[in-house]
Subunit: 321 residues, 2 copies
Amino acid sequence: MPITTESWAEQVRAGEVRAISRAVTAIENREPEGEKLLRELFPHTGKAYRVGVTGAPGTGKSTLVDKLAAHYRGQKKTVGIIAVDPSSPFTGGAILGDRVRMQGHATDAGIFIRSMATRGSLGGLAQATSDTALLLDAAGKEFVLVETVGVGQGEIEIVRLADCTLVVLVPGMGDDVQNLKAGLMEIADIFVLNKCDREGADRFEEQLRAILAIAPERGGWHPPVVRTIATENRGISELAREIERFRQHTSGPENRRAREIELWKQRLVELLEQRLIERVTRAGIDEAALASLAERIANRETDPYSAVNEILAKAGIGESK
Amino acid sequence: MPITTESWAEQVRAGEVRAISRAVTAIENREPEGEKLLRELFPHTGKAYRVGVTGAPGTGKSTLVDKLAAHYRGQKKTVGIIAVDPSSPFTGGAILGDRVRMQGHATDAGIFIRSMATRGSLGGLAQATSDTALLLDAAGKEFVLVETVGVGQGEIEIVRLADCTLVVLVPGMGDDVQNLKAGLMEIADIFVLNKCDREGADRFEEQLRAILAIAPERGGWHPPVVRTIATENRGISELAREIERFRQHTSGPENRRAREIELWKQRLVELLEQRLIERVTRAGIDEAALASLAERIANRETDPYSAVNEILAKAGIGESK
């Protein structure tokens, strides 16, 4: 059934769950309609507050995100949740997970949950996550919570889109403070010490605070450490309070703006790269064609630089110089 | 002083250190001459055996690589070393480090050492490392050792170009076996347990072997664990023996070929992305222009998708569809 992008956009803006779901799918599959829709919705974005939540597997991120969402819902705020799983190759299981999680918020139209898993490259996932966050923003969600496993560069790209980033740690998980990856230390606006009733929590917090005390401050902000037991809903309102405090701290016009401009610069470069690849694919240079070129290179029948020029010429993007 | 690419290529092939050094610099700076040179040298590549060495900072990778190089030199094999440091923003210190390391191999013309540090994106570094490996290959180095800190996605890209990948671990460095990043486990063809005289080495090795025993085998190869004390030159010949065993194991024509074709496919995509960015930069869309577009997006005066189309049009790569 054909539907105009205009009315689709209106449905999304009205927060209609089906329209949003279809839009996320269009974005994930990179359907041209998805981009048209995003273009139309874009002027209505920029209002949502995006909270990124990252941490190792088993730190209780999902539960924490659910409780935080429930807290915001209790304040009559609308919430969108994007659960990104870069390790899962397809969404089958993830979608099932959505349904299970949605039951907790059963008939609540003020909340939207969507899982995204890797399709192809991590870069594509970061792009799809960013676009979905825009979509939920346009759909009027006041908070967009983006949850992802913190393991590599790709996931750091994913939380980079957030206005505020939570790093979730659990004491005694082999997560010795010394082992904290430098990348995680740098992106954390707030540390969440979840399952803080576990043994060793005090010592862990002490060590963490010792490191934070000597870490260079960023823009006058010292990342706080919030202790939670998400399963028992403990520490959640304190966490929400710290998020709000960070929001106030960074709401100075120059601060937030500088961050947003930097983000869009990076996105533009990523979008550009993606465009070229799409262009090349459309010119008929598919996996098989690439494989055959790669084979010729492996045989030393051609070299990679000439091969690339050949592809560019075929795609009508030949050297103009 | 103008010099033809032909004679430059000949000098590189003859293994002349100055010609090789200049070529690496040209590659690092993405000078057009560098690519011309690589294109000319490419048919003479594919003979070197590339060994990637990765591990956390402080595992003694450099010493291990030096000793392994010395071992090969003792067998009259020529060796090239590329030491990649993605965390270092410029090469000043790295180049100094080269000189210090070179002294160990003072007047030996059979060895070439070069450090590379991040200039801009990690992607660019992987490309430069790959091109430098090709260069040393063309220069007749029988072994090219690529050493990099194993922390993120970018470094995994760097060692991916290797024919054989060593993951260096040290017992008791907080490197609990459970903490080993999945990425590192997957890329290791051989595990090196360096500083194996440290306490806890036996337990560490035991745990590692227990995990490896249940890990899925890849192409009939079970990654061995080699114990070394690089500073005392212990375990180095055992390591060389395991590398040789892996080389034999993967030397079946279909095996090595499949791996090489896969690698070239990925390189082609990376080269393509790089080309577009260069093309865009040449069209005058520099940092400032990107920043100004990003600002207009942040102001919601335009949207990212239209902005990208604008850039493409300016670069003469507008939509043909």
